[in-house]
């Protein structure tokens, strides 16, 4: 008998709930999906063109570990414009392989075994496993529908123990579309400072807010030194496949993150880095154009769900809407599975983003209006049937 080749830690981690769903959808060629977490837009042409040009020029070598100097400088300027926080390009900026790498690096650089990481849920699927991989103890803060899935200071305060080290702050939020305004963030920052913990602020959807501009917790007084800001090009710039993100924060932390990055990754893709410089310099209009389109679809979905009588708060960020399906008396996974089987529309069950997402579905509006209309027609048929059945019983 051979010895077990696997690590107990990795075996203990659940595969993403979304994965299971993905496999079912893939067997259905005529299904309409509202299940993706990436833009439907092509990367703006000027960015792609810059990528092509950099290949033509033969820029196919490694870059320095932390990223191209020009890119780090542009990132720093961009953040100064967008969130009014100044980062020193040479020591406080690290270019990563997507925002997801930055999440992993952050935990590994900051956690000692047993430290607690606070993870508000529903949220993106990788915080919890990444924390576990870094030997942290993940502590989930279930966000409430009554608060429109924002994190409150009371909820934070209640979750903090002497072992708490990091608060993950995932806003604008995937899957709920919730945002945190300056007024929402201020009391959070106070609690964070009071208990001397750090914030990992995942701002990957920062370009996609529809009511007011995104505010970073790092911009609040005395917060820059205890915040890692994670951002990237995937969502706002429609560059998911380029795998390019970045993290900015205190020099001592970034320095350690660079070390892990250097040994595990070497550097982010060179081609993507050159292309991204163009994005930061010259794509304000293109990004605005996409934001406009998302905003119109968002209004359309909110309007349609209201008309159908599905309970749903109005989301002001990212490209998701998170209606409640409680009235149908089934789990979100059952609902999503039946919707897929009966009407061939794929949505993601809210439970895939944590237990507090139960009772909801995530509907993405990274689709053309035509697709959304067709899909919503089918959703309406489905819920009408369910309601009829409930009334008849």
């Amino acid at each position: 008998m051979m010895r077990n080749p696997l690590s107990k830690k990795i075996v203990s981690i659940e595969p993403s709930g979304i994965r299971k769903f993905f496999d079912i959808v893939n067997e259905m060629p005529d299904a309409i999906s509202l299940g993706v977490g990436e833009p439907d837009f092509d990367t703006p042409w000027r960015i792609r063109e810059e990528g092509i040009y950099s290949l033509e020029r033969g820029r196919t070598f490694y870059t320095s570990n932390a990223g191209l100097k020009d890119l780090k400088t542009e990132i720093s300027r961009y953040l100064e414009r967008k969130i009014q926080v100044t980062y020193e390009p040479d020591s406080e900026v690290l270019v990563t392989v997507g925002g997801s790498e930055a999440i992993d690096l952050a935990f590994r650089a900051m956690i000692d075994e047993g430290d607690e990481v606070l993870i508000p849920q529903p949220s993106y699927v990788s915080y919890l496993p990444c924390a576990v991989l870094a030997d942290a103890v993940p502590v989930v803060i279930p966000l409430k529908k009554e608060n429109e899935f924002k994190l409150t200071a009371e909820e934070l305060e209640a979750a903090i123990t002497p072992k708490t080290k990091i608060l993950v702050l995932p806003f604008p939020n995937n899957p709920t579309g919730a945002i945190m305004t300056k007024e929402d963030l201020e009391p959070i920052a106070e609690v964070v400072k009071k208990h001397d913990i750090y914030v990992l602020s995942d701002e990957i959807y920062s370009e996609l807010t529809y009511q007011e501009d995104h505010v970073s917790i790092a911009s609040l007084p005395e917060m820059k030194e205890r915040t890692l800001v994670i951002n990237g090009f995937s969502k706002g710039f429609a560059m998911t496949g380029w795998r390019l993100g970045y993290v900015c924060g205190p020099k001592e932390i970034v320095e350690q993150m660079v070390k892990i990055h250097q040994y595990a990754i070497m550097c982010a893709p060179t081609n993507s880095q050159y292309a991204a410089i163009e994005g930061l310099k010259n794509c304000e209009d293109e990004v605005q154009e996409m934001r406009n389109a998302y905003n119109q679809r968002r209004r359309f979905l909110v309007h349609e769900f209201k008309r159908m009588g599905l309970e749903c708060f109005e989301p002001f960020g990212a490209f998701y809407i998170f209606p409640s399906i409680r009235e149908f008396g089934m789990t979100s996974e059952e609902f999503a599975t039946r919707l897929l089987e009966e009407e061939k529309v794929a949505v993601v069950p809210g439970s895939a983003f944590g237990d507090s997402g139960e009772g909801h579905i995530r509907v993405s509006y990274a689709y053309s209006l035509e697709d959304l209309k067709e899909a919503l027609g089918r959703v309406e048929n489905f819920i009408n049937r369910l309601r009829e059945k409930i009334t008849n019983e």
Binding site: F22, V36, Y124, Q296, R299, V348
Partner: protein, 163 residues
């Protein structure tokens, strides 16, 4: 121009048949204000028409399109305007632009046949007193027209469900 007008125009430019109720939802306003804005813009001449983009080749009735460079002598007091109007009055002429550079007007023309277009150039256009010379370019294939790519490539597929 105000935001709402510019958004309405962007929609109408792509789809002149856009549904007003739907526009109202998309732009976060009501149907009446959309209808009013559109009516006002029609009156003000901002919206000049609701044309249809047609691929005549596919419709089985191929038009011959040509771009004609025209050099003219500007006329006293009238400048180029009078000549432009004269040329523009021909129904087969679809556009007349005053151009900077090596010639004066760029005229676009739809004809049924090559012969018809060349007849127009030699008999109507060149014989105008003000016209000094013309160069005719026939359009062989349209790849993109009015901001619309006519034979779009297939979109690469996104995965159906991602986190």
């Amino acid at each position: 121009m105000n935001e709402i007008r510019s958004e309405i125009l962007k929609h109408l430019e792509k789809n002149s048949k856009a549904d007003l109720g739907e526009l109202a939802v998309l732009l976060g306003t009501n149907e009446v204000s959309i209808a009013n804005e559109i009516a006002d813009m029609e009156k003000e001449g901002i919206i000049c028409g609701y044309h249809t983009l047609i691929d005549w080749d596919k419709a089985g009735r191929g038009y011959v399109n040509a771009l004609i460079e025209v050099r003219v002598t500007p006329q006293r007091e009238k400048g180029f305007a009078k000549t432009a109007a004269r040329i523009g009055n021909y129904p087969e002429v679809t556009a007349v632009y005053l151009i900077s550079g090596g010639y004066d007007f760029l005229v676009t023309i739809d004809g049924k046949t090559l012969l018809e277009v060349s007849k127009f150039v030699s008999e109507k256009l060149s014989t105008l007193d003000e016209v000094i010379g013309t160069t005719t370019h026939f359009i062989l294939k349209k790849y993109k027209d009015h901001g619309t790519i006519l034979t779009p490539e297939e979109k690469p597929e996104r995965m159906a469900v991602t986190p």
